[in-house]
């Protein structure tokens, strides 16, 4: 059971991190989106969910140790 938890933890971390990079890339990596993130508020709104997802991965990772 510990093996299953370890594997799922690593898989979850990879998927969340990969997805978050993609979200940020989509928002900041194109001219179309750049217009949307021209203000500090927009940038915070875009970055907040990926940041919270990564914090959650961190919490679960250290909670299980």
């Amino acid at each position: 059971m510990d093996g299953l938890r370890d594997v799922s933890m690593v898989l979850a971390a990879i998927l969340v991190a990969g997805g978050c990079v993609a979200v940020v890339w989509l928002e900041f990596g194109s001219a179309a989106e750049r217009r949307l993130v021209s203000r500090v508020r927009d940038s915070i709104e875009v970055l907040l969910p990926p940041a919270l997802a990564l914090v959650l991965v961190w919490i679960v990772w250290f909670d299980r140790i």
Binding site: L4, L11, V46
Partner: protein, 280 residues
């Protein structure tokens, strides 16, 4: 009477409550007690109904413009704004009081916090001004899982936040699919949903990215130790399906409404698997 029930958006409440009971089962590591479940669901229904009603009062001008919503009680003048607002506030207050008396303070406070967040942050602040409206605003819809957990334990633990995150990251792709289908409606109402703000092709890319995060977050419940093999198997299968469906949608944007409906099934099935895993 029927118009007042419509104001509460019963189908959305149904989905919210679908996430509450499994959260309670995981928190209790078994059946948490029939009365506690019923009391929590009643309180959750009242609070969510209040939030949905006040939302419709604030959005009455938008609902009049959009084809999808123009038959709602306020645009059709079956209920006036003042009575609807009063009804929504009463539901919210009664919901808080009910949860406080029959369940506990954390559950009551979280439920009311969700109502206030939905009305003030999502409806009044983000919806008309941000393409991220549904991303941030979706947090309100994720709170019922926290309410369920808090109803049982009186506090929140990492698994509760994982449940919250599953619903939080499920919400954007779900509603972006709906807004692809109704993008002309949203454009006419000047609501900057993502397909209106950045176009359909870019929205479909966002759906894929958020689906990957969603699946990752759904796996995150396994290392917390509250679920075992049955949930793992279901999460892996559903995860493959949801990422596959998001990729498929990139080439079938006219099928967005099918994706939207299937997405409901995904969430319900994932939480059902949690409940079964927690019970047996």
């Amino acid at each position: 009477m029927r118009a007042y029930v419509e104001l509460t958006k019963p189908r959305i409440i149904e989905l919210l409550l679908t996430t509450t009971v499994p959260a309670m089962i995981l928190a209790a590591e078994g059946w948490p007690g029939t009365w506690l479940v019923i009391a929590t669901l009643i309180g959750g229904t009242l609070s969510a109904g209040g939030a949905n009603t006040i939302n419709q009062v604030a959005d009455a001008d938008i609902d009049r413009v959009m084809k999808r919503t123009r038959s709602r009680p306020l645009p059709t003048d079956r209920v006036n704004n003042r009575n609807a607002l009063l009804f929504g506030v009463v539901l919210g207050v009664v919901g808080f009081a009910w949860l406080l008396v029959t369940v506990n303070l954390p559950a009551a406070a979280l439920s009311t916090l969700a109502l206030l967040f939905y009305v003030f942050v999502y409806t009044l602040f983000l919806k008309r001004s941000s393409a991220q409206n549904i991303v941030i605003g979706g947090a309100a819809g994720a709170v019922p899982a926290l309410v369920g957990w808090a109803a049982v334990t009186g506090s929140l633990a990492p698994p509760a936040w994982v449940l919250f995150a599953i619903i939080f990251f499920w919400t954007p792709p779900h509603f972006w699919a709906l807004s692809i289908r109704y993008r002309d409606d949203y454009a006419a109402a000047e609501v900057p949903m993502l397909p209106v703000a950045v176009g359909v092709a870019r929205t479909l890319d966002h759906i894929v990215a958020y689906s990957v995060v969603l699946v990752g977050v759904s796996f995150l419940l396994i290392p917390t130790g509250v679920v075992g093999l049955p949930y793992t198997v279901v999460a892996v299968i559903l995860g493959a399906v949801v990422i596959g469906a998001s990729l498929w949608l990139r080439h079938n944007e006219d099928q967005a409404i099918r994706y939207f409906l299937a997405s409901n099934v995904y969430l319900a099935a994932l939480f059902a698997a949690m409940a079964v895993d927690g019970l047996f």
